[in-house]
Amino acid sequence: MKHIFTLFTIVLLLAGCTKKLDLYPLDSISQATFWKSASEFKLAANNLYNSLSQYQLTGDLESDIAYDVDNAISSGTYVVNETDDHWNTPYYYIRRCNTIITAAENSTVTKDADVIRFAAEAKFFRAWNYWMLFRLYGGVPIIKEALDINSEVLYSVRATRKETVDFILQDLTAAAENLPLKSTLSTADVGRITKGTAFALKSRIALFEGTWNKYRGSASVNEYLDMAIESANNVINSSQYSLYSGSGADSYRYLFIEKGDDSPESILDDRYEVNVRGQGMAWTVLQGYLATKKLTDMYLCNDGLPITKSPLFKGYNTRTSEFQNRDTRMTMTLLTPGSLAEWKLFPDKIESWPFFPQRNSNTGYITNKYRSEDRYGNTTQQQEHGFDTHIIRYAEVLLSFAEATFEKNGSISDADLNKSINVIRNRVGMIPLSNAFVASNGLDMKQEIRRERTIELALEGYRYDDLRRWKTAEIEMPQAIRGIKIVGSQWGTDQIVVSGIDKNPYSKATYQNSADANGFLIVEPTQGRNFDPAKHYLRPIPTKEILINSKLEQNPGW
């Protein structure tokens, strides 16, 4: 008995100790066994789509055409950060892209067309993420592979501006080659990157760099402008895209909410779906993502003339007068005060005012773009709307084509205008732009092209980049942020009676005291606004990065 027990324990002991310590993950796949089939490359590529949410529609808050509360970028009061997600996040995704690209190169299934396609998606996203860096910082260290923690390459110097943008454009060219056309996407692949996406982004970036260089007297202007035109043409001529017109005269309004999803205008979307990945823009506009006077004044009257020239402009004296006889995009972007509308948390139509249900009365304008009418989304939690965020839409390509053409040649033909800007104007029933119209009315073609771009893409996050590449930020940004006319207008005198009570804040002393000489509400005075051309055109590189890698040179002025 004693021996049996001893034996038993010894056996137990041996069984225990010889048991292998080689344990492998039970709920994750090891890299060594991954990358065996196209479906695995696809799985890896899926993750990259999350990098699209770096694009913020609210980016216009950093510019002069939108306001909510004091924004450090917009007012030029920002300081150097120790770390910055604008710097870190793109590199996160660049690593993921590099992993896929390298795996595809080394894969035994390299010849598989699908593997090539998803490697091309990875190249697109690598370009996208470098673009996210480039637009803010200029040249950055270029990392082309997933680095080991001991790699010297981690401590690279910044590539030059040209090297960086060329690397991005080159990736896009390569990606375009191996990506499918939008029309060939299976229903399960709707929303994935296509050839058109790569060309459209290429056109955007080439225009950015072409104009950037042009207004700074740098070399390589036409090289990029040509590329912008060519890439835009690739998109236009592919016959894959057209403007959304599914909601008739209101198509521009509905493009940005549920009805506009997966339209022929979509080139690149950050995609949302109820209960999968809900989005909060409807909430954001309820809180107040507001147009400034500068934006609203830019809308043409429906005779095609600016308010300063058009006899149709009705002035600011009533609450609705400035909305009359204007480009319809004005009321599709901003609600006419007092109109009935559904809102987030207010599923039934109610009278809309700058202060109710919209919660921010800062500029006095009411945001209509992204205001959802989806009852389900409006009654449920904050982040539960399913409409997509359009990151690149066909209209932008048309606008880029027109601008690049004009910037390159100093002029643009009526044919090119008809092919681009007038397609956009046509959708909203605006009279077409022509060289003759510009000439006869004493307008400036460059300004009209820029106006068209700003109006069409208002509150979509383009303005900050545009002002910087045009090098007009130093003029535009330090100007005071203004809103509606509150002194000497109906806003300043009339009651706005809701449920029997006057709710109009603008007639109160608080607001009446903060108007300019012409009676317009000053939301942020010039003293609060700074833009130093010596430093503010580029963002500072986070200090921690420079601390770790002393080879990293800080941007000028910081």
């Binding site: 090891s30 991954f34 899926n46 399960a188 929303g191």
Partner: protein, 1156 residues
């Protein structure tokens, strides 16, 4: 020589049968079956072989004690134990040996199980004949130990005479012919001698307490036990008194302040989620500090352990822990649970009922004060001031204005003028209770203990139910087989914790968040008496009541069998198998509820799609250990103990997580009622992982005459968590030695020390309980996420490759310790001091690599950390007649310093966990230079660069420390500047102390436990750290009248700048990390205060009970601390960045302990 053998076996069966009839419990039936093994007694079966030449009788006794389980009891004034004898025995029973030793003397002995009690015959005979004395009487009674067990063999002598006796197997004695003025002296080896004046008493029952020095006390050490006198390492022990008679519902709570060098802190007052954390001797790594907790030798969870089941707790703090190798870096806590004692069956029952009272509730400014502070902010911003009528209305507690708010951004919502303390409304008193029943006993070759516990800890929410209930069952059974050669001990327990709470105690609709945002002017109910939402302020009460419910259960089943097999007399094989099965299940739901406004209109919904989540997890842990132990005494004085063994541990974990959405009913949330029409309405996930650890360990102990002791241990661990080439890369050696100076003549001649011992140790141990995964060396592909692609949109997961490192391995922590133990003044004053240095030479640190890496780099063994500190404990105990008192105090301190980070030396404004040359968790920031008092000062200060252009009078000035003419965080290596940030101190608790005061007078006992932290600095952050951080955040009352204005030029805080009103950069400037923001959260707390009364024995006897004790007790009653900001925060609160900590409570309770 007379032989007088007592068999306990038969006696103990009589009460057993009696209770059996009454209780009819099945487990006792099983017990009976097992107990019938009992057959041969120890004294008949145990045969000894040894040889002694010319040694004292005392040493022969010790030799026998070492060789066997016998313990000797004798009165050394009677028996000449210093007499030297020579003796040779071969395979003889104890009877034969004792006859040889005592043969010539007039002594008799009695064997009570393993106790050998020697008395002189004269004494016995004089007792029987002494009838000539006058006015003499008989006294009888019972002697027990501190846990209530009877003590046989205690010598009871009338002081100054030879009259005396010895207690019997039940601890009872009768002594006759005692003069009135006599004093009875009770003495027993290892116990403190007690003297009692007889007076007119005829019954004297006493409890002997263990000798403070406790040389003979057995202390658990790694894979074995040692006598306290032979310890070489820094080991502290606490006994069951710490856990009994206190209204604690958690073991960790009871350990707070209980052991020198052990710091326990709480994270929250939320029932069942208190987030206790324990640290032994400060930080040994930045990667978490969790001591290895072994309950009866198997890793366990202190949160679920029934504190009443604990017999004692030993903490191994230095090289003594190294025997546990890779997991011992933070020390080891060895918990031994109670087991039955030989003797008759004992049933004890204890009950406690307590009321918990919230101790620290955040105090938001009253409506009037908030309005004043807001108005002050408006003035500072140059904005139009508040309408004076607002103040009048507030003072008059006026009715709300329907659509005219006075607060910024709320102008178009109802304006309120009342004052409601939401914290008072939401938190009230809670109730807690505990019940424990234990049944224990045993015979000569078996012992048993059954215990059942129930504890309920009710939360302090006035709305919704939150409580945690703990159910504990334990059955500890030990038996001996094969002539006592095989000793088996089993420990089986089942613990169940059930937590019920509203879903909104955390997560998306966290009521604490809503509460922290809620200004005092908002009334609780609207005009219709409903819970409503004021603008965007969530209503915490509605969230609690209607947000849904959660029920979580932690079940733990643990069984553990340990067998000791005596292969030879000197050689023992010990095997232990432990299995822990942990099952957690939780289900929580979110209900849809309507958002109602002030007038009662529904304006929206929350949780529009209701949902229910079901989570199940299972953890199976197995531990298999075997070791051989060899004991030998050579040349009489050289004792050698060799131990060597191996163990294997394996852990398997898996969980499932299912969420269903859109349930048809808002009350029933079983999954079959979930909406299954859309894929988006189904969500499930799961995970699984495992790890294994193989270990080999050994110890050599050597003791010379119990004067000089040496221990050498080593351990090798192989872990599945590391790459194969790093798997067996560490060996953890340790050496420790002690020198018992009080055995040396030169110390004895001083006549000062009753005990004096020096200790020194050095050892290494590893840290495997790191915050990284089980397979981190394998580059993994994680598949997760839900990006919608396709038409219709379907959420697609994505795959991401992780960054792995194959070169990582254990952190090796080297501990050097020197200590001294002493006892003076007749052992009434005892103390112990230890100094230690802990060095972590390859700490895993998250190496900050350039962002170009594109991921979180795996931590690497690049850090070097040193922690130096000391523990000191001292105790005094004495008695004067019926008054007994004992005071003990302990204080510990440690300070860490990061020595090396291999060049990854980063810091920033605020809390920096690691920076070379500084303690862990250090603050860096600016040095303030006061507040700008006037425009001249302002103009002068604006000369400095990088000062905000819009800074004004009333804002903070910071010093340009590096003198470069601008305020810069960091220096510029090119120009040689150092930046303006400096070290502001660290947030680690220093000088943690506690003191225990016990007073006993007759039947009354008072015990007080003080506990505290001597120094601790911290910074509060987030919205609570400044008034009107955002203009809609209610300010704390604390700031009222403390902010700078022209009228308050010496104010503590800068001017109020309400957030989100255009000057946010200046507000951020004023509240930059600087010396201004450092607060002291040191504290002293009356941790526990107990007043107990022991019902007189005579009364107990009438009730046929052994003892009854009633007590009233207070837990955390009073606290002294500077940094509570007007009692808004508990100084112990770990999460200091907002008001979202569930409040801590103080508890007042009443309890009773009875023993049958």
């Amino acid at each position: 020589m007379k032989k007088n053998r007592t068999s306990l076996c038969r006696e103990s069966f009589i009460p057993m049968r009696k209770y059996l009839r009454i209780m009819k419990l099945t487990f006792i039936l099983i017990l009976m079956g097992l107990m019938s093994f009992a057959s041969v007694t120890y004294s008949q079966s145990t045969k000894l072989t040894f040889e002694s030449q010319n040694v004292t009788i005392e040493n022969v006794f010790k030799q026998i004690e070492a060789l066997s389980e016998y313990k000797f009891a004798y009165n050394s004034t009677k028996l000449d134990v210093d007499r030297k004898i020579s003796l040779k025995v071969e395979n003889q029973t104890i009877d034969a040996i004792l006859n040889k030793i005592l043969g010539s003397a007039n002594f008799k002995y009695q064997i009570v199980d393993r106790y050998i009690i020697i008395t002189d015959e004269d004494l016995e005979s004089s007792n029987s004949m002494g009838s000539s004395m006058q006015q003499q009487k008989n006294v009888s009674g019972k002697v027990t130990d501190s846990s209530g067990g009877s003590l046989p063999g205690v010598s009871v002598v009338v002081k100054g005479t030879t009259n005396g006796t010895i207690t019997d197997a039940d601890g009872k004695y009768t002594i006759s012919k005692i003069p009135e003025k006599a004093v009875l002296q009770f003495s027993f080896v290892g116990m403190k001698t007690q003297e009692i004046v007889v007076g007119n008493k005829t019954s004297i029952s006493i409890t002997l307490s263990e000798d403070a020095i406790g040389i003979e006390e057995v202390v658990a050490v790694g894979y074995g036990t040692k006598l306290k006198g032979e310890l070489t390492g820094a080991v502290s022990k606490a006994d069951n008194k710490m856990f009994e008679a206190r209204p604690v519902v958690n073991t960790l709570n009871a350990l707070q302040g209980g052991l020198p060098g052990v710091t326990v802190s709480r994270g929250s007052g939320r029932p069942g989620s208190e987030n206790f954390s324990m640290q032994i001797r400060g930080a040994s790594s930045i990667n978490g500090n969790s001591p290895l907790i072994l309950i009866d030798g198997i890793p366990g969870d202190l949160n679920l352990l029934n504190p009443n089941d604990i017999l004692n707790v030993t903490v191994l703090k230095d090289a003594a822990a190294s025997i546990y190798g890779a997991r011992a870096a933070d020390g080891v806590l060895l918990i031994t649970t109670k087991s039955g004692k030989e003797g008759k069956l004992t049933i004890s029952y204890s009950a406690n009922y307590g009321i918990s009272i919230p101790a620290y509730l955040a105090k938001h400014a009253s409506t009037l004060h908030q309005a004043e502070m807001f108005d002050e902010g408006l003035m500072n911003l140059g904005e139009p001031r508040l309408d004076p009528t607002v103040f009048e209305k507030i003072k008059a507690n006026a009715a709300p204005d329907l659509n005219k708010g006075w607060a910024k951004y709320l102008e178009n919502y109802p304006g309120f003028y009342g004052n409601t303390d939401w914290y008072d409304a939401i938190f009230g008193n809670g109730q807690q209770q505990s019940h424990n029943l234990s049944i224990s006993g045993g015979g000569q070759d078996h012992n048993y203990l059954f215990s059942a516990g129930y504890k309920s800890n009710g939360g302090i929410l006035n709305y919704g139910t939150d409580k945690s209930e703990l159910f504990n069952l334990r059955f500890n059974f030990g038996f001996k087989l094969f002539n006592d050669r095989l000793n088996v001990e089993t420990r089986t327990s089942f613990d169940d914790q059930a937590i019920t709470e509203p879903t909104s105690v955390d997560g998306d609709l966290n009521f604490l968040y809503s509460l922290s945002e809620m200004p005092n002017y908002v009334p609780i109910f609207n005009t219709q008496g409903q819970t409503y939402w004021y603008q965007n302020y969530g209503n915490p009460i509605q969230q609690l009541l209607e947000g849904g419910k959660r029920k979580s259960n932690h079940h733990k089943f643990q069984t553990n069998i340990k067998a000791d097999l005596k292969i030879l007399n000197d050689l023992k094989l010990v095997t232990q198998v432990g299995i822990n099965l942990g099952i957690n299940d939780a289900n929580s739901n979110t209900r849809t509820f309507n958002l109602i406004d002030w007038t009662g209109n529904i304006f929206g919904q929350r949780n529009g799609t209701n949902s229910a989540t079901y989570i199940n997890s299972k953890n199976l842990y197995g531990s298999y250990t075997a070791y051989l132990e060899y004991n030998k005494t050579l040349f009489r004085k050289h004792q050698i103990n060799l131990m060597g063994g191996a163990s294997h541990e394996q852990n398997d974990y898996q969980d499932q997580n299912i969420t269903g959405y859109n349930f048809t009913s808002n009350d029933l949330f079983t999954l079959n009622l979930a909406d299954k029409t859309k894929t988006a309405f189904m969500n499930y996930s799961g995970s699984a992982s495992d790890w294994a650890l193989n270990s080999y360990f050994g110890r050599l102990s050597y003791s010379y005459d119990r004067r000089f002791m040496l221990d050498i241990t080593t351990r090798v661990d192989g872990s599945s968590k590391f790459a194969p080439k790093k798997r067996w890369s560490a060996l953890f050696p340790a050496v420790s030695a002690s020198w018992n100076l009080s055995k040396e003549k030169f110390i004895q001649s001083l006549n000062v020390f009753d005990m004096l011992k020096l200790r020194a140790s050095w050892g290494q141990s590893g840290n495997q309980n790191l915050s990284f995964g089980n397979y981190d060396y394998i580059p993994l592909i994680t598949i997760s996420g839900n990006y919608p692609l396709g038409s219709p949109n379907v959420g697609l997961p994505g795959a991401v490759a992780s960054i792995a490192s194959e070169s990582r391995t254990w952190e090796t922590i080297q501990t050097t310790n020197a200590g001294i133990d002493f006892a003076v003044l007749g052992s009434r004053l005892t103390g112990s001091f230890d100094y230690f240095i802990k060095q972590n030479n390859n700490m895993l640190v998250s190496v900050t690599l350039p962002a170009t890496l594109g991921g979180t780099s795996p931590t690497q063994n690049h850090g070097k950390l040193e922690t130096k500190g000391w523990d000191f404990s001292i105790g005094w105990s004495d008695s004067k007649g019926d008054f007994k008192y004992a005071i003990s105090a302990m204080i510990s301190d440690n300070k860490s310093k990061l020595l090396d980070l291999k060049g990854n030396d980063n810091y920033w404004e605020g809390l920096v966990s690691t920076r070379k040359g500084y303690p862990l968790n250090s603050y860096f920031g600016y040095e303030s230079d006061g507040i700008i008092k006037n425009s001249e000062e302002l103009a002068a200060y604006k000369e400095l660069g990088n000062v905000p252009v819009n800074i004004g009078v009333g804002d903070v000035k910071y010093k340009d420390l590096d003198g470069d003419g601008k305020i810069t965080a960091f220096g510029n290596p090119a120009t040689g500047t150092k930046g303006d940030m400096k070290y502001l101190g660290d947030r680690n608790p220093r000088y943690t102390y506690s003191s225990n005061i016990n007073l006993k007078y007759k039947n009354f006992e008072l015990s007080i436990l003080l506990q505290g932290v001597g120094r601790r600095n911290d910074v509060r952050t987030g919205t609570v750290s400044r008034p009107l951080a955002a203009v809609w955040n209610p300010p704390l009352e604390w700031f009222y009248g403390k902010t700078w204005t022209v009228d308050r030029p010496n104010a503590e805080y800068p001017r109020i700048i309400p957030g989100y009103m255009g000057l946010d950069n200046v507000q951020a400037w004023d509240y930059k990390y600087s010396d201004r923001r450092i607060i002291s959260v040191a504290y002293m707390r009356v941790k526990s205060l107990i007043l107990a009364y022991n019902i007189p024995q005579s009364f107990c006897n009438q009730l046929k009970m052994q003892s009854i004790r009633v007590y009233a007790s207070g837990q955390d009653l009073f606290t002294i601390s500077k940094g509570t900001w007007g009692n808004s925060f508990d100084p112990e609160e770990e999460r200091i960045d907002n008001q979202q900590t569930y409040p801590f409570t103080k508890v007042i309770s009443f309890g009773i302990d009875v023993k049958f």
